[in-house]
């Protein structure tokens, strides 16, 4: 009778303190939000905790959602802000570039690597070696299907910067793959 409620209808019901609507919204978005966070934070427990914080903020501040963007973009924006805040406080955590070098040092020579693993596996491993900014934008575009404007909203950077950051993330990925023995002929 009532049909499937849209995300924006769920938010309106959450404003009216409807816990069932909150549960539905969670069921719809928790997996992607968790994956966004776990790939950014590299820690499952931290990702789970941050994901719950995002949904609590949604519950508490649903009336601040103005409907200009998709609910998934709004939730991801909250997740981005919380993740960035935690990453900035992690003074003991290695920088992403350092982390990449550590992993690279532990690996076999590029020739051995390329013999042992297939191209897809190497690409995924190289993606994990990208900086948080680069990993994030590649995930937002390719996995979360976000437009330039949506990525700009989530990451709080201008649209032109979104495009160039994506370009440089891809270029860096290609460089890491070349170092791992897989030259894709670009750049």
């Amino acid at each position: 009778m009532s049909g499937i409620r849209s995300d924006k209808e769920l938010i309106a019901q959450i404003v009216a303190r409807d816990q069932t609507a909150m549960s539905t919204l969670y069921a719809r978005h928790h997996v992607r939000l968790y994956r966004y966070l776990v790939r950014l934070m590299r820690n499952e427990a931290v990702a789970e905790e941050l994901m719950n914080e995002v949904f609590m903020e949604c519950w508490r501040k649903a009336d601040s959602f103005e409907g200009r963007s998709a609910v998934s973009t709004w939730l991801t924006t909250i997740a981005h802000n919380r993740a960035v805040s935690v990453l900035r406080k992690r003074s003991d955590a290695p920088l992403d570039e350092d982390y990449a070098v550590q992993i690279a040092d532990d690996e076999d020579t590029p020739e051995v690597v390329s013999q042992k693993r297939d191209k897809a596996e190497i690409m995924r491993e190289c993606m994990n070696r990208l900086s948080a900014d680069h990993r994030e934008i590649i995930d937002l575009v390719y996995y979360h299907d976000k437009s330039v404007a949506e990525v700009a909203e989530i990451t709080n950077i201008p649209s032109n910067t979104v495009k160039t950051r994506m370009f440089y993330a891809r270029k860096k990925l290609a460089g890491l793959m070349r170092e791992a023995g897989l030259d894709r002929g670009w750049p």
Binding site: K8, A12, V31, Y34, R35, A47, M51, G67, R170, W186
Partner: protein, 225 residues
């Protein structure tokens, strides 16, 4: 010059290729990209690389697992605990929306655009019934005389303190001859008529300062045109 323009457009197309692959470009952008793809083998090769990257990114994300059921249980328990506390404020918001015929919309969505032109008096009695109102979600109806359209006067934006009781807010409105004419806006702000006269300068400031002095009831107040 035209060569430079063409190069710049090609570079722009190259930057847009990932979004072309995911179908996130406008029709105009898509058309531009396809025009270049037809005549540029290097761009077509780039698109192939992008397809590989996109495919592997999806696989990598899908192998990132799922959150535990315990996480969901913790969240829902926390929400249930806060739900009771927040119900009264929530019923105020949803109740007012219902009274204004806008049930189902969040405040942020409900009071935009054309609705801004509609000014509806919501009497203090509504505040009383909403804040103290039935937790079952039922909201008392406005008597016909309690709702009318008004124009003119001096208006302010007010957010009442979350700790303020219904009786105290009603008393404040009555004592100062205030009328709520719109809201709640996002953040819980109401538009309130200060006076039926168009006050300016010191007279307006004095009234605002008097209300600002009611710090236990008024969390925020600012002039509204």
């Amino acid at each position: 010059m035209s060569e430079k323009t063409t190069l710049s457009e090609r570079e722009e197309v190259e930057l847009m290729l990932p979004w072309y692959e995911t179908g996130q470009l406008t029709a105009e952008e898509t058309s531009l990209v396809e025009t270049h793809l037809r005549q540029d083998a290097e761009l077509r090769r780039m698109l192939e690389l992008i397809r590989e990257e996109a495919g592997e990114t999806v696989l990598a994300n899908e192998s990132a697992g799922m959150p535990s059921h315990a996480a969901r249980d913790r969240l829902m328990a926390q929400i249930a605990a806060e739900g009771g506390e927040a119900r009264q404020r929530g019923s105020l918001v949803s109740g007012l929306l219902k009274q204004l015929g806008l049930a189902g919309l969040s405040p942020g969505l409900a009071f935009g655009g054309a609705l801004a032109a509609v000014v509806i008096i919501v009497q203090a009695a509504v505040i009383t019934s909403m804040i103290g109102g039935a937790p079952t979600g039922e909201h008392p109806q406005l008597a016909s005389g309690e709702q009318q359209t008004i124009q003119g006067g001096t208006f302010v934006w007010v957010r009442f303190s979350e700790d303020a009781s219904a009786a105290a807010i009603t008393g404040l409105l009555r004592k100062n001859g205030l009328i709520i004419t719109d809201g709640p806006k996002p953040g819980g702000t109401f538009r309130v008529r200060l006076s039926d006269q168009e006050l300016t300068g010191e007279a307006q400031t004095a009234l605002i300062e008097r209300l600002r002095g009611e710090a236990s009831l008024v969390a925020f107040i600012s002039p509204s045109r």
